[in-house]
């Protein structure tokens, strides 16, 4: 906030204008000279607002919520607001929604498109292109098995098969009781510990075939 004091009537206000030479007092229309240090502050202020709002076409600093949004709209709105309705943040917003919600139902995608002013077509394109997004419900626990090169030469395929046969599902599917969903990832960056598996946020490195059953039965 850049506070100005009118030298004529002592009125104080927050100046947000473009002019860098003088500001007009809203009460008495007196022209207040803008000193050099105030100019710096103004530029800094404008710079902090600028790029995001310029791209999304909204003035984020003055944007106000018209109504309180509830349900899915509310969830989407909270995420969108954190990213200042910036269109370029679509991927980040979807990631955040997915983290909160577990998966991305169609309604959520439509709503995200509406609120950001992006066509549903484009939202859908993004959501299907990236591997991290899931458009169908996931199980309670997410098993991710690394099939990177290092894990592969150390025997990840056997581990994957073991998990598949133990749970009776293929990669990308959910068990019928909704306990697990199984996915593979390309690299978890734990190459020195391969083969590697993550269940939710728990890492299991140097996996042995016999350990799989024991680990999986820990999760309910």
């Amino acid at each position: 906030m850049v506070l100005f004091v009118c030298q004529h009537c002592d009125y104080k206000w927050d100046y947000r204008g473009e002019n860098e030479h003088y500001a007009t007092c809203p009460r008495c229309r007196y022209k207040v000279r803008i000193t050099e240090d105030k100019v710096q502050m103004l530029r800094q202020k404008r710079w902090t607002w600028s790029s995001a709002s310029a791209r999304s076409g909204l003035d984020t600093a003055v944007k106000e919520k018209p109504v309180k949004l509830i349900g899915i709209a509310g969830i989407v709105n909270r995420a969108a607001e954190d990213y200042q309705y910036d269109k370029s943040m679509l991927i980040q917003i979807l990631l955040r929604l997915q983290k909160d919600f577990g998966w991305l139902p169609m309604e959520m995608l439509v709503e995200a498109g509406k609120q950001l002013g992006i066509s549903i077509n484009q939202v859908y394109q993004v959501a299907t292109f990236y591997k991290a997004f899931s458009l169908s419900p996931r199980g309670r626990h997410l098993i991710r098995i690394c099939t990177g090169t290092s894990c592969k030469v150390r025997g990840a395929p056997t581990i994957l098969e073991k998990v598949q046969s133990f749970l009776g599902i293929n990669t990308g599917e959910v068990t019928s009781d909704g306990r697990f969903s199984l996915e593979t990832v390309n690299c978890l960056g734990g190459c020195a510990l391969g083969p590697m598996m993550i269940i939710d946020d728990e890492y299991y490195g140097n996996l042995k075939l016999l350990a799989v059953k024991r680990i999986l039965s820990k999760y309910t």
Binding site: Q92, Q122, A132, F133, C151, K152, L193, G205
Partner: protein, 642 residues
């Protein structure tokens, strides 16, 4: 942490550094626990908690500090704990070891021999890090500070001389001089392509158009590489400092850090680093009191290999589908939102402060004349010492694998090393003596890539690995260029056929033709190099391909359709382990009865082979299965074979 102090001039920075140093007594003991992904996976958080509880119990809580630091690279031996000021490194520490370390190592200043690193060849315990064979041959410019810095605390970085390169660049050099210095250092892009960094900077600087952007590429999609992650987790401020210097040099005032979503700790640490740098006046409006303004934001990647390509990464930051686009005009001139954008890899950015601070000549003296400096490789696969190694460019490949890596696991035979992820090729034994730099690797058909080095031994089938890379790329191909989308599909089905024993003699020719076409005609570098694994595998291991097609034999015994499992009756101890574990119920036998595999039922999952503790299960390929003993009756009793 005390209240943040805003740094407004180089003098402020020096004062702050002195203040931090005077607050810390060098003799004060501290325990540093590695909390990067590798060690966390092995249980580092529990170790840390155990130390905390133990210190409290022994009443040392105020005298000893516990630090969470970054990765030293020796992930296999984790969790790693270092005791300062003695600099004793303990490996494979378990929570139960905490009391012993605290009472012995910290109170009595003795060494716990049991937990020191044991040299696998001599069996000796090594106390100092520099004496471990894995570290002896390394030159650690970038990774050195990882173990001394708490990545979540900017003061640690400043105390070790951090941000002085930025002060030097901002107040003693003009932007042109910075670019000139980088050019003189002959630093080449560490992301894989090896494009001269200075030239890229100059192009962006001279390109018309405002605003300009600086971008950090931490979309490390290469399977088998994790050095960007480790640097981002362990020392995010060094990357940030490089980025700010870059922004100053080219005149940008907005920056992006693109990190994979699969690296949660890296995302957390860099976000924290940005926040702290802002508080200290090292980011934002008027950095260090100069006229440079820079805002940096973190973008998470959503899991797409192709997004690591520069133009694709930029479209991903714009919030669209990350597809590469034709680069008739380079991204340095028209990148993000069609504005000049400077994109560099994490390692490149982290090298910049060193160049600025110590000068281009010093940097040029390391490595070879054409590829200067050091490179971080992630040495993984079937080597004894796996982990991150930082070596000067031009080190012979043999030294890297056999001296630092300690040779092949279980003393098997070396077969090939795969350098540079899915874009790189295989390097067979006859080229082991080549020096490792950009040009030499390209000569043998591989490339530096991001520096992933996967070592393969005789148990790895080269056709199978080539198939793996093709399948990987098929899944990751964005589908924009037809030779990539369709070519990979055909390649994949051909290779799958060969691995399934249905190979035809013309398959090799078809494969070569498609691979050549892809190399010629694709838009992005990832696509153009996609055929490298197939081509090098064919070039150096053609006999193995021919064996698959003509003799239906897989030398390494990996391709499932070409192998059979067989239990050696002489070695079988009738322990029933495989019998119980076999998912298909294909193993017959009983207690005290030698087991047999029913070849009809066997699904070749390999479970029995993995778990047999007597090595009785054998893999056969291209040879007949010895006929089973006629009777299933007890032949020999367990332990009673006198």
């Amino acid at each position: 942490m005390g209240p943040a102090k805003c740094i407004r001039s180089p003098k402020d920075l020096e004062e702050l550094r002195e203040e931090i140093k005077s607050k810390r007594k060098p003799s004060k003991s501290s325990i540093s626990v590695c909390v990067s992904t590798g060690c966390v996976a092995l249980g580092a958080p529990k170790v840390k908690d155990a130390f905390m509880a133990e210190l409290e119990k022994q009443g040392l809580k105020d005298q000893v500090e516990i630090k969470e630091t970054g990765c030293l690279g020796f992930c296999e031996q984790g969790p790693r704990v270092t005791i300062y000021p003695e600099e004793v490194c303990y490996f494979k520490v378990k929570p139960e070891d905490a009391p012993e370390i605290v009472s012995k190592s910290i109170r009595e200043k003795k060494v716990v021999e049991r937990l020191l690193y044991q040299d696998p060849t001599t069996g000796k315990r090594v106390k100092k890090l520099e004496d471990i064979a894995f570290y002896k041959h390394q030159v650690r410019l970038l990774l050195e500070n990882n173990a001394r810095i708490d990545p979540k605390n900017i003061e640690d970085y400043i105390a070790l001389g951090g941000y002085s390169a930025l002060a030097k660049a901002l107040f003693e050099m003009t932007p042109e001089e910075v670019v000139e210095e980088v050019k003189k250092s002959k630093l080449r892009g560490r992301g894989g392509g090896g494009f001269p960094t200075g030239l890229k900077w100059e192009t962006t600087r001279d390109a018309p158009g405002q605003p300009k952007y600086v971008i950090v590429n931490c979309d490390e999609g290469d399977p088998g590489a994790f050095m960007d992650r480790s640097l981002m987790e362990g020392n995010p401020h060094s990357v940030l400092e490089g980025l700010i210097i870059g922004a100053y040099a080219i005149g940008a005032n907005e920056g992006f850090v693109y990190v994979r979503e699969e690296y949660p700790i890296a995302v957390e640490n860099i976000s924290m680093a940005i926040k702290q740098a802002k508080e200290y006046g090292l980011l934002g409006w008027g950095i260090m009191g100069s006229s440079l303004n820079l805002r940096v934001r973190v973008h998470k990647g959503a899991g797409a290999f192709v997004s690591g390509e520069s133009s694709a990464l930029m479209t991903a930051i714009e919030g669209r589908v990350g597809e590469p686009r034709p680069k008739y005009v380079h991204t340095a001139t028209r990148g993000l939102w069609d504005k000049p954008s400077l994109l560099n890899n994490v390692k490149t950015w982290a090298t910049i402060p060193l160049i600025v601070l110590k000068g281009a000549e010093w940097f040029g003296s390391i490595g070879t004349p054409d590829s200067s400096g050091t490179m971080i490789f992630s040495l993984v696969g079937k080597v004894k010492n796996t982990g991150l190694v930082e070596v000067p460019m031009g080190i012979p490949l043999r030294d890297l694998i056999f001296k630092i890596g300690g040779g092949i696991r279980n003393d098997k035979k070396y077969k090939a090393v795969q350098v540079g992820g899915p874009s790189g090729g295989f390097i067979p034994e006859q080229f082991l003596d080549i020096p490792v730099d950009y040009d030499e690797l390209a000569k043998v058909g591989s490339m530096m890539g991001s520096g992933g080095m996967v070592v393969m031994d005789e148990d790895t089938c080269m056709v199978d690995v080539a198939r793996y890379f093709v399948d990987f790329l098929l899944e990751e191909s964005c589908g924009k260029c037809i030779p990539c989308r369709e070519g990979l599909r055909v390649l994949s089905s051909t290779l799958n056929d060969i691995c399934a024993g249905k190979g035809k003699s013309e398959d090799i020719l078809t494969t070569e033709e498609i691979a050549e076409t892809m190399r010629e005609s694709l838009l992005c570098a990832l696509g153009r190099t996609a055929a490298n694994p197939v081509l090098t595998s064919l070039k150096y291991f053609r006999d193995e391909w021919e064996q698959h097609i003509k003799e239906n034999r897989c030398q390494a015994k990996v391709c499932k359709a070409l192998i059979d499992f067989y239990i050696d009756p002489k070695k079988c101890q009738a322990c029933q382990l495989c019998l119980n574990e076999c998912p298909a119920g294909a193993i017959q036998g009983d207690k005290d009865q030698i087991h047999l595999i029913d070849q009809e039922k066997c699904i070749k999952c390999g479970t029995c082979y993995e778990i047999c503790s007597f090595h009785a299960v054998k893999k056969l390929s291209g040879e007949p299965i010895p006929s089973a003993p006629k009777s299933m009756k007890p032949i020999r009793k367990l332990k009673g074979g006198k």
